[in-house]
């Protein structure tokens, strides 16, 4: 079945030269976009047009274009990753948009994610949180057989649910407090559900939360917006688990 063509779209995009300059919206007209195209392919077409006109194309992050690397990070019509559920921007398709529509595209907005250029933001804060304790302290080699410690299927599945996080930052961008609790709780939960991770569970929860606070992410007020925006449907029950892990760790101090 052939896809329909959108004859005309108005693309209203945040343009910002670099981290120091002030940004502003600009609107571009775009013609002949197939509804079978992905959202990023639509931006490719826009950029092709801008380059041919002698203008600077729009900078945006992307790499795998199949919803798993977590690079792409667009706020589309007021929603992280746009108007569809459980997908990233690169998996969003133009059939979700209508003829003649104005599509507004912004970068992630959060104090801890400063804009680098146009739609690209700096997510190093996520790196620092992971480096603070997002691991099991085990070196290469000298580990027991993979089947030495049985792990119940339910625990393994729950750990996997949490581990599915792609680190895109949609949760932070969506949260009115710019909280990173969903992101941090996903990693803490994955390890909390597994015997290998439990050993240093207390240290991990404290280190990651403390780093998150230090980097300027806001507090969690349980609005649940993050869960809805998450392309991987990470549940806020992970935040409850993080709170429990953190509280227990603090009480043990």
């Amino acid at each position: 079945m052939a896809d329909k063509i959108l004859n005309k779209l108005y693309i209203k995009i945040w343009r910002q030269k670099n981290s120091k300059s002030q940004g502003a919206f600009e609107t571009y007209e775009l013609e002949n976009v197939s509804q079978g195209s992905s959202f990023l392919e639509m931006l490719d077409i826009l950029n092709d047009q801008l380059i041919r006109e002698g203008n600077d194309p729009v900078a945006f992050d992307h790499d795998c274009r199949e919803g798993i690397c977590g690079m792409c990070s667009l706020y589309i019509n007021g929603e992280a990753h746009g108007p569809d559920t459980e997908i990233t921007t690169c998996q969003l398709h133009m059939r979700k948009f209508n003829e003649g529509e104005t599509i507004t595209i912004e970068p992630w907005r959060a104090g801890a994610f400063p804009v680098i250029k146009d739609l690209i933001v700096n997510r190093n804060a996520f790196e620092e949180i992971q480096q603070a304790g997002g691991y099991v302290s085990v070196g290469t080699g000298g580990v027991p057989d993979g089947n030495a410690i049985p792990i119940g299927q339910d625990d393994a599945e729950e750990a996997m649910d949490a581990a599915a996080c792609i680190g895109c930052g949609a949760c932070v961008a969506t949260c009115k407090n710019s909280s990173a609790m969903l992101f941090v709780s996903a990693k803490v939960s994955q390890f909390a559900k597994l015997p290998q991770g439990k050993v240093e569970g207390k240290r991990r929860a404290k280190a990651m939360v403390s780093k998150m606070d230090e980097l300027g992410f806001g507090g969690c007020t349980n609005t649940g917006a993050c869960e809805i925006a998450c392309p991987k449907a990470i549940s806020i029950s992970n935040i409850a688990r993080l709170n429990r892990e953190y509280l227990c760790a603090k009480l043990a101090d």
Binding site: M1, R65, E127, Q131, Y135, V143, G152
Partner: protein, 646 residues
């Protein structure tokens, strides 16, 4: 004697690696602290290598072009990772995994390397479990396995359809631990643009800070390339946008030989191309062939109706469906290796039985598995893949069969390395998909992850010591050496040349044209005339590129078009080698199908008289013909037979 010394140890196959490890040098902890190692790329090979080297005490600098090491394209691998654990008691063994890999690769890989890969494979699973990788489990708590194409045992470990993601996050967590410990210095959004060679040894890299445009010089005692494959030479592939082969081309021009560039894997189960605006193809995991049945209509008129959209798949009765893989290959059925399945799909579509408007798709049908196992089971096994399919195509694969078609997926070819994973430049290593060593002419499913982690966790950390033991007296490599200035100038000249071309066409225009040349002539089916055309067309397009490309923006600011421009410039050099290599290899083997070398039934016909070698291409300068060297492949343990999956 060839100038290529594989350094494959002598002796019985099963003892080679232990004997080799016992004979190579080891660097003391005190001396490791004085040695610097650069790791470029942070996928499975790079992240595991950087973490392991950091743990050993080397000073590691790691680089990736993404904003986080976790985003490297290993993350996208879906189906699983092989390991010879024999947990299923189905008579698996290290030898069987070795044999399957050699046979699956159509006898074009080096025996010693492949055996080592199989030998360390069980350790990888243990390592990942210890890191907290949430592999699929049985109710009793033990690890689950599934089967994959080209083998008769169940040895594939998996984490839903996101195995690559979970393994990479495991390696990334190990890397983060070392970054936190200060043994690894991580450089995100920093792209390598050249290799620095001093007195014949790899001594550093030139890289560009992608945010500021600053050109940086980094010195080290050894340099490791973990930069993945070059699938995006074809423009459309299942690879990430950055899988250009750029670094492979850079080190090739600096003297590292490029091996078997013609060996490209075309994956049979990808979502078909939707139109000219497409930028990327999406893979549907091979694991789906465990439960999905591949078919096209038996009757041409049904195919024509499907193409016109007059009927849908479910209108065609069972007896009118041609399950062509089960028909042609009764013993392996839908689980034949990727190259075989891809060619069979092309054969049916070329014969007019394609099922979409373009006639370039076949069905992958889960109706039968859902009838047999229930929808819940299928959803548990493949839920995320089905969701992905539905989001992209707007079709529900639970009630309609998927449409699939082959697409470029993986590159078996890569930089030539010896048994120690060292390239022809001393001190320069190549790991994972970036090297050529383990998969021959075709890679088996779930073996890429295995190789990346084997190289990074369990091979390089040993073999690099053998080289670095002789470097302990070499002081820190100063980037004030003239070789660094020369390499830096070569990079800035190249950037300026591209930037100042000030032509009329954007980078993608050329990239798409290059992709068409490659798909038409260096794709699933190749012949002498087409390959000769490809070589001349690639060269002509490359000449035009340097004079007519238009790069907007600035050199010293974040500039994605400039980044792409360099990668595509490098892709031209790889593309040329791919065509030349395919032309030189006048036999069919694995993913390389030469029309001149086929059986009457259209199956690939290998020719061991002329083809039992790994090519190694030497750069001779811009505008000069590259020279091919051959590493003769010696098989002491397996008998070469024509692959048969019938």
């Amino acid at each position: 004697m060839s100038i290529l010394d594989s350094k494959a140890p002598a002796g019985p196959l099963a003892e080679k690696w232990s004997k080799h490890k016992a004979s190579i040098k080891v660097v003391s902890p005190a001396n490791k602290r004085k040695l610097d190692v650069i790791v470029v790329g942070t996928g499975l090979a790079g992240a595991s290598a950087a973490a392991s080297l950091g743990e050993l005490g080397y000073n590691v600098k790691a680089f990736c072009y993404q904003d986080s090491p976790r985003r490297a394209h290993s993350i996208a691998a879906q189906g699983g990772i092989n390991a010879a654990k024999n947990y299923q008691n189905d008579n698996d063994s290290i030898y069987r995994l070795f044999y399957d890999t050699i046979k699956g690769g159509d006898y074009r890989a080096r025996e010693s390397n492949v055996y080592r890969l199989a030998e360390v494979s069980p350790l990888i699973i243990d390592q990942c479990v210890a890191q907290g990788v949430p592999f699929a489990r049985e109710y009793g708590g033990s690890l689950s396995n599934r089967s994959f194409g080209g083998v008769l045992v169940s040895r594939t470990f998996y984490a839903r359809g996101q195995t690559g993601q979970q393994l990479l996050l495991g390696a990334y967590s190990a890397l983060n631990r070392q970054i936190n410990a200060g043994t690894v210095e991580m450089h995100n959004r920093t792209e390598m643009l050249d290799l620095v060679v001093v007195d014949g040894k790899a001594r550093g890299i030139i890289a560009r800070d992608m945010i500021t445009g600053e050109i940086q010089k980094h010195g080290a005692h050894a340099v490791c390339m973990c930069t993945g494959g070059y699938g995006n030479v074809f423009f459309l592939s299942t690879n990430a946008m950055g899988c250009s082969g750029s670094v492979a081309a850079q080190i090739y021009r600096r003297g590292a030989y490029m091996s078997n560039p013609a060996f490209v894997q075309i994956h049979p189960t990808c979502i078909p191309v939707h139109g000219s605006q497409q930028s990327k193809l999406t893979l549907m995991s091979e694991s789906l062939r465990n439960d999905g049945r591949v078919w096209v209509p038996k009757k041409k008129e049904d195919a024509v109706k499907l193409q016109k959209g007059e009927i849908s798949a479910n209108d065609i009765k069972d007896e009118d469906r041609d399950f062509y893989l089960e028909r042609r290959y009764p013993s392996y059925g839908n689980l034949v290796p990727r190259d075989v399945a891809s060619r069979a799909a092309k054969e049916r579509c070329d014969a007019g039985f394609g099922v979409n408007a373009e006639g370039k798709a076949v069905f992958l049908d889960f109706k039968y598995a859902i009838d047999r196992l229930g929808r819940d089971t299928i959803e548990k096994r493949y839920g995320n893949l089905f969701q992905m399919y539905e989001k992209i195509t707007d079709v529900d694969p639970y009630s309609n069969p998927m449409q699939i078609y082959p697409a470029i997926h993986y590159t078996m070819g890569g930089t030539w390395v010896d048994y120690n994973l060292m390239t022809t430049i001393p001190g320069l290593y190549s790991l994972g998909e970036a090297n050529f060593s383990d998969h021959g002419a075709n890679r088996l499913g779930a073996s890429a992850l295995m190789q990346g982690l084997a190289d990074g966790y369990f091979v390089l950390p040993y073999t690099i010591g053998d080289y670095l033991a002789d470097e302990i007296m070499v002081p820190k490599i100063e980037t004030t050496l003239p070789e660094f200035a020369e390499a830096e100038k070569s990079v800035t000249d190249r950037l300026s040349q591209l930037f100042n071309a000030n032509g009329s066409e954007p980078v993608d225009y050329f990239h798409k044209k290059l992709g068409m040349i490659m798909w038409d002539h260096v794709g699933m089916s190749r012949n002498e005339a087409g390959l000769k055309t490809a070589v001349s067309e690639i060269r002509a397009l490359r000449d035009e590129y340097y004079t007519n490309v238009r790069i907007p923006g600035e050199l010293d600011n974040l500039n994605p078009e400039l980044e792409k421009a360099v990668r595509v410039a490098d892709s031209f050099d790889i593309a040329e080698l791919m065509a030349l290599d395919a032309l030189a290899r006048n036999e069919s083997c694995g993913g390389h199908f030469r029309e001149e070398s086929a059986t009457e039934e259209g199956e690939a016909k290998r020719n061991d008289e002329i083809g039992c070698y790994a090519s190694a291409w030497e750069y001779k300068g811009a505008g000069q013909e590259p020279v091919m060297h051959k590493e003769e492949l010696v098989f002491e343990n397996v008998k070469l037979v024509q692959r048969s999956y019938k």
